[in-house]
Symmetry: C2
Subunit: 347 residues, 2 copies
């Protein structure tokens, strides 16, 4: 399979220019590009620049709004409720996370609810923002259905991801970032771009039959059977229904939902309110070292921490460049051509 | 397998008397009995009165404290940090959840961190307390290790459960309550009491080899491979390490940890701060109806909501009595005899 390697800064700059041409303010375009390329840097290619053509299509269909009027609907010392006006997810989510962290600094926790955001990229990004400020970060999101609830053979819930991050001392911050499906939808898209099949158990086709063809995959399957399914249902309640924007039931009832709409929760817990921050970080290091030192299961050489694999990829790709499969490159070139953005050398 | 059926009120009263004889204040004994029998009513027998002999043993070893001095260590308008002084879990957790719900009523969210609690029973109980007050409830807990992290064949993390509950209108509140292991540890204990084997994939023996003998089961296995494992690691950070009481790494390093110690987070999000509560409840009903109406997967007659199975058992057992296996009955009789508590008729 053919691919190219591109410097992350070049890719970020190119991606930013594309977003500016889509109608975004330069600072918003920068945020958006940063979040996507961060995902690529960490090997989460399913949430990286491969999304750009989808975003352009969404803007053109009246889904994602490149020039949003973000509103704070309600605010207390501990919570904030924001309407994103269908902003690109990273724009409104970064805005909200910053406010949430301020609140956590004041009263120990900040809890942000975002209505009418659109695709936010990798949720781990926002959780990590908190960890980098000495806080625990939590982020989750729910969309219209793309996953079969346990026991169903049709779409009925979103494969809501959740991210949680905490700082460590010598180790990198821990960053859990997982979908409630067996595999994130973007991983299916990536298989399409790569022209490879997907494992059994990831998805059903539109008729509800199991498939390993990513082009046929229409319905994701929950991880851990009823456990992943039930987590996704509760996350839909905490985000969509809490925000008065239920998405799932209206879609199932055949009502029109603005394409790309999603609702999200971001939260930060201030560690210093409860414990000494340095002691916390040392204790996370000890936890990591303790677990990594355990006897290994058969076929395992090491035990990985949440985000550890991504940290290694990050280091390697920051140095060596980000590999993009030919399908993704071709799509990006087409977008650039449509928008009159020059394609950088090497892409 | 022989079993008896006992009226839940009789069982609760008997259990309360046992706890009073263990040295608990009557109101605390009542709380403790209520939480355990609630689990039995809902069919979560692994977290019900089968625990009573373990609790007595723990009190005698200096683990659980029947007469605790519960302290509020820190408090803001949004958070509370409580030291449970090794109280029986339901006593300190109910106390903290009440305070957390007051805060949520004021500022939209309340976040409670509990240090030095002991076994809390079924975590769904506390999440449901919030749902019954028009709030979303969240509860999680972490203990010393009893589960193999993904990639390990030894204990290295606790199979932390998480519970989330929200109210509905015509439907019962949704109550997710799940361990991050394939099966909760109490389910292994229950298999011992019932004299049955456990399914493959639940547990390893003390050497790290797979076992289906509940008497040999020493190490639980995470659900969803690395996903359940990583959730458990993050929950340990949010509870144990946040509370300055890390438990896991010290245990792995061979240090003494007071038996039965655990740390917990309970939180409530006030729905009315964000949305109209009645609309929220109607939207939860619509979500439930939408999902339950989906085409069923092969071998499924219906799609169950979080807590729905338990609601049905609750209704049946409230009417017909709680079935207890012979092993559990025998253990309860022995405890009653030791403490001089009269065994009620029918047990």
């Amino acid at each position: 399979m053919s691919q190219v390697r591109i410097d992350w800064k070049v890719l970020e700059d190119f991606t930013k220019k594309i977003f500016v041409e889509m109608g975004m303010r330069p600072e918003d375009a920068e945020t958006e590009a940063r979040v996507l390329v961060w995902a690529n840097l960490r090997g989460i290619d399913s949430h990286g620049v491969l999304r750009v053509p989808q975003y352009l299509a969404s803007v053109q269909k009246g889904g994602m709004n490149p020039d949003p009027d973000i509103q704070v609907l309600r605010e207390t010392p501990a919570v904030i409720f924001v309407d994103g006006d269908h902003a690109f997810g990273p724009v409104v989510t970064t805005f909200t996370m910053e406010r949430v962290m301020e609140k956590a600094g004041e009263v120990g926790i900040g809890w942000g609810l975002i209505r009418n955001t659109t695709h936010q990229g990798a949720m781990g990004y926002y959780a990590l923002l908190a960890a980098e400020k000495g806080m625990a970060g939590i982020a989750l999101v729910s969309n219209p259905p793309n996953m079969a609830p346990y026991g169903a053979k049709a779409r009925g819930i979103h494969n809501s991801p959740i991210a949680i991050s905490v700082p460590a001392k010598e180790h990198r911050p821990l960053v859990l970032d997982m979908a409630t499906s067996v595999a994130a939808g973007g991983k299916v898209d990536l298989a399409v771009d790569k022209g490879v099949s997907i494992p059994e158990g990831w998805a059903l086709d539109v008729e509800g039959n199991p498939t390993t063809d990513p082009e046929e995959a229409a319905i994701l399957l929950p991880f851990g059977a009823y456990k992943g399914s039930n987590l996704a249902i509760m996350f839909a309640c905490l985000s969509n229904i809490m925000a008065g924007n239920p998405l799932v039931a209206p879609t199932l009832a055949g009502q029109e939902v603005r394409p790309g709409t999603q609702n999200s929760v971001v939260a930060a817990v201030d560690i210093g309110t409860f414990s000494d921050l340095e002691m916390f970080k040392e204790n996370v290091d000890d936890l990591v070292d303790g677990i990594k030192g355990l006897p290994k299961a058969e076929d395992f050489d090491e035990i990985l921490m949440p985000g550890e694999l991504e940290d290694r990829v990050h280091e390697e790709r920051a140095e060596e460049g980000i590999p993009l499969p030919e399908g993704t490159v071709q799509n990006l070139r087409e977008v650039a051509e449509k928008l009159g953005v020059e394609v950088p050398e090497g892409l």
